[in-house]
Amino acid sequence: MKLTIGGVSQPGTSRENRTGSWRVNSRPSHLHKTCTACDLCALSCPEGCIYGKGRNTYYSDLTYCKGCGNCADVCPVDDIVMVPEEKSLPQEWMVFSDNQEYKSMATS
């Protein structure tokens, strides 16, 4: 791998910097029961890693989520709860992700 002078770099480094590894204590769990698709969780996420379109479709991309809990704090219908951090990514979460790399992070 080449280090350019001045460390000048191409765009896209954010994609490679998987800040999900920073998460230690807890992770968000989207219950998908009372979600109204108000979009507040997605807007308040400092990483911009919450995606969704329509009721009960929102998910946090755990490869980037730092576990700050803003989404759970801000959800007006308490559809997001912070649960203890686990070592693996939950299988059902992977349904929403198209990225093959994400799939490889899940344990069976």
Binding site: T4, I5, G6, G7, V8, S9, P11
Partner: protein
């Protein structure tokens, strides 16, 4: 090529204008204000086609030229003393991002106490930044170093900022006959700027990235390596300058009557003119003395200095700066060059001329006499004997004759 009677700062401004910078940002401070003032006049009356950015401080001036340089245009700024210090963190950024910014430092003492007169503490305090530093002896050299500075900075093997230093008031406000080349001559010496990397929405890049411990060390190593390599490039640029402009360019060091000298004076900037006069006088009295003028302070030209000074018995450094709590920067760095080497001249270090105190022929004679008696580690020259210094009963460097 025209010879013009100019104030030093005007000579600098003329040289800068001929280099065709596209963005200039500067903030006033004595004694450099005349430089941006002249350039602002030139931009206002259409003589120089550049974007002039008014800023609220030197920190902003440096930041503006950093940003503009990153977009791939030639830039310029200038400052002195507190202004240079205010630019400090940005100078590190410019060097770290490897941007070929050229700036002029009109050397002035640093507060506190507040002093507007000449010494070299301001630029020397920036010696760790990764900025190449060149010191001019007179106003012709100061202007000539500007053209060379852009060539050096923009060389793809360098890509580092260059600071041209000239002594405040002594040079900046002195009127000398300066040879100002034609635009065609400068254009043949300095081609248009071709950036290695630049900010461009069509091909997006990021400068000044966040970098973790796993790579930062290497970036510093790269700058050190580049600075060492740049000594050869600076010399090549000087040779090219001589070919195109037809007058000598000093590049790294100038040896004045050092070939058989047993004692060699070392200095930077305008004081060297005085040293040369003293040497002429002493030579006429049969003394084998010479002067080593240090032009390129960063990178510190270890090999060139060693080869030039190794046969001398006494090396006498007089400098207009000090590292408080230690001693003279040039003397101490020079001593490190000789560490472990077969040749060991006695290297004496003197601090003089701080805050604009005149360095005179007497100063030089005193330094030589003291150094010849026995090697001096660090001594302040010309300390007044008529002042009581509170808290000090017997100041060092004060000798009763």
């Amino acid at each position: 090529m025209t010879k013009k009677l100019l104030e030093g700062s005007q000579g600098i401004a003329e040289a800068v204008a001929l280099c065709r910078p596209q963005v200039i940002a500067a903030y006033p401070i004595t004694p450099q204000t005349h430089i941006p003032q002249e350039l602002a006049d030139m931009v206002a009356n259409g003589k120089l086609k550049a974007e002039w950015v008014n800023v609220e401080s030197e920190h902003s001036a440096a930041s503006v030229v950093l940003g503009a340089s990153a977009t791939g245009v030639r830039v310029f700024t200038a400052s002195s003393s507190q202004g240079i210090l205010l630019m400090n963190e940005v100078l590190f950024n410019i060097a770290g991002m490897r941007l070929p910014v050229v700036l002029v430092c009109v050397n002035r003492a640093i507060s506190a106490p507040l002093n507007i007169w000449n010494d070299q503490q301001d630029s020397i305090s920036q010696r760790d930044t990764g900025v190449i530093q060149l010191y001019a002896e007179d106003n012709q050299e100061a202007a000539d170093l500007v053209y060379q500075a852009y060539r050096i900075a923009e060389d793809h093997r360098v890509q580092l900022p260059v600071m041209v230093c000239l002594d405040g008031y002594v040079l900046s406000h002195a009127w000398e006959t300066v040879d100002i080349p034609s635009q065609a001559q400068v254009d043949s010496f300095l081609p248009p700027f071709k950036p290695l990397y630049k900010l461009d929405p069509e091909n997006p890049l990021s400068f000044g990235m966040y970098m973790e411990p796993d790579k930062y060390l290497e970036t510093r190593y790269m700058i050190q390596h580049t600075m060492e390599q740049s000594i050869g490039i600076i010399q090549d640029v000087a040779h090219d300058f001589e070919k195109i402009f037809g007058r000598p360019a000093t590049a790294i060091i100038e040896e004045y009557q050092t070939h058989d000298a047993t004692t060699i004076l070392v200095g930077m900037g305008s004081m060297v003119s005085l040293f040369k006069e003293e040497v002429d006088q002493l030579r006429s009295q049969g003394q084998k003395v010479g002067v080593l003028k240090l032009v390129c302070y960063r990178p510190f030209p270890k090999e060139e200095l060693y080869q030039s000074l190794k046969r001398a018995k006494h090396v006498v450094v007089i400098e207009k700066a000090t590292s408080l709590g230690f001693g003279g920067p040039v003397a101490s760095e020079l001593r490190s060059v000789f560490y472990g080497c077969p040749h060991q001249p006695a290297i004496s270090g003197f601090i003089a001329g701080l805050g604009g105190r005149d360095i005179t022929a007497e100063t030089v004679k005193t330094a030589l006499n003291k150094a010849h008696r026995h090697p001096v580690d660090t001594e302040y020259l010309d300390l007044r004997t008529d002042l009581e210094l509170e808290g000090i009963s017997n100041p060092a460097g004060q000798h009763k004759k």
